[in-house]
Amino acid sequence: MAVADQARTQASVSRKPALAWEGVTYRLVSVLLMIAVWQAISLLVSPKYVPGPMSTVMAVAKHAASGALWGHFLATIVRMVSSFALAMIVGVAAGILMGLFRRGEQMLDLWVMVGLTIPGLCYVIVSFLWLGLNDRAAILAISWTTFPSIAINIWQGVKAIDQRLVDMARVFRASRWRRTVRVVLPQVLPYLMAATRFGLGVVWKVTVLVELLGRSDGIGYMLNYSFQMFNMADVFAWTLSFTVFMVIIELGILKPLERKLFRWRPEISG
């Protein structure tokens, strides 16, 4: 069949490599360059104001050895995880309401915008004033700040659902459940992923702020403490250690998950 032959030659089957280690050489070079620049700046300015990589790592090691690192890490992570979960539940619900129903959009879009505009600091102060200097207030403030950006992502995702695919499923008599799980959800998944990434970034930034203002443990508290002591090496150490932690989450969980979920996507070359 001539058509089939033509078709066969037309298909250029190119799959995205499953390897997460692609381009690892250049990433490594980039990291090494960054460390070199850091070292250079430290030497040029003064190791007192800009501690170099070596002394920063030493400071991290010191806190790890004393056990302080793990306790503060745990406190911060518990706050982050519970706030993120709460923000996700509220944000996804609001996003779906706004995406599916015009009334929902009209009722909520202003408040999501307002929520996004008000600085996290305001929520933090208000929460502490209402609930006192405790973890309930901390979690309320963090999730409050985070949920608008999650809601916006989900809102966009729900609005971008291709109704034509849903109609296709309907003519083949897919049940409502099947249409939701097999046709709608996969379309929203990239937005859910974006919401997660965005949300985690916001959660982390607000958590540190909350700890600085009203808690007596966590990375934010230790940052403030080091600042009071004017201990630059410790400021760098706490920042670095948590940054590494976040990078590990990104490269170890989010990226591989994304690759697994969206492997079907065409490679964007540019």
Binding site: A7, S12, F172, A174, V183, R265
Partner: protein
């Protein structure tokens, strides 16, 4: 065995510009006999796709009655007659391979799992896509995607096949070979086909009978039996002359078009 009886009294199109509703279909009455190939032809905007949507159950907001095999089209999708649908675009789920796309339709419509593989391979082969089951839609050309959609529609073994300008997005050469193919498939399976197009040559080449529609509101203007012998030849002058007649009907005196 499957016949379609359509008796649409009216279909209103509501929008912000027409809060009262704009009459988009007016008194559309026709039948499609078992194993018949009927083309619904009309200029764009005449509501021909709307007719298909109503039969396919995608739009339930109309006055009138649609019967398949003398049973009114149920509104819950539990009608015993299987309908295969080919849209203007392939409408494949982009995250599934071609094979899994067909499985999706088979599973949705309730075909037993044991038959999926056999049916899918058979139809991929018949549309000339043997060996492409594991490709994702974006790895295929537009024509191949549309052929996957045709394989999907046939694989559910429908009694009725609804096709909504399935070749209008393809280049003429691909469209030609696919028209030929669809006729071969129809010849061996003898489905009841209702095919929507704005292309009078395409309609003349394919159909047993052509229904010409006029726009605003959508009405049936004329019915034409295509008495040309099958298999039909693209180069035949009779076919060409017939299609000119259809075109004339489409353009002649059409409400100031």
């Amino acid at each position: 065995m499957a016949t379609i009886t359509i008796d649409i009294i009216s279909k209103l199109f509501r929008s912000r510009a027409y809060p009262e509703g704009l009459l988009s279909l007016d008194n559309i009455r026709f039948g499609v006999a078992d194993r018949e190939f009927v083309c619904l032809v009309g200029p764009s905007g005449c509501g021909k796709s709307t007719v298909l949507n109503l039969i396919g159950g995608l739009d339930r907001n109309y006055t009138g009655r649609i019967e398949i095999d003398s049973r009114p089209l149920s509104h819950d999708g539990s009608h015993p007659v299987r309908v295969g649908y080919v849209f203007q675009e392939p409408r494949l789920l982009p995250w599934l391979t071609v094979r899994k796309n067909i499985y999706f339709a088979l599973e949705s419509i309730g075909v037993p799992h044991s038959e999926w593989r056999q049916r899918t391979e058979t139809w991929l082969e018949k549309v000339g896509l043997a060996g492409f089951g594991d490709s994702h839609p974006h790895e295929l050309s537009g024509g191949m995607q549309q052929r996957s959609a045709i394989a999907r529609a046939f694989a559910v073994d429908p009694e009725i096949l609804l096709m909504d300008e399935p070749f209008s997005g393809l280049d003429e050469l691909t469209a030609r070979s696919m028209r030929q193919q669809i006729l071969e498939l129809w010849d061996t399976t003898r489905k009841t086909v209702l095919f929507v197009t704005h292309n009078s040559f395409e309609a003349s080449y394919l159909a047993d009978r052509i229904l010409v529609m006029s726009p605003r509101p959508g009405r049936l203007r004329q019915e034409m039996k295509v008495e040309l012998p099958r298999p039909r030849n693209y180069e035949s002058s009779q076919l060409f002359e017939f299609s000119v007649q259809v075109t004339r009907l489409l353009t002649h005196g059409g409400n100031g078009m």
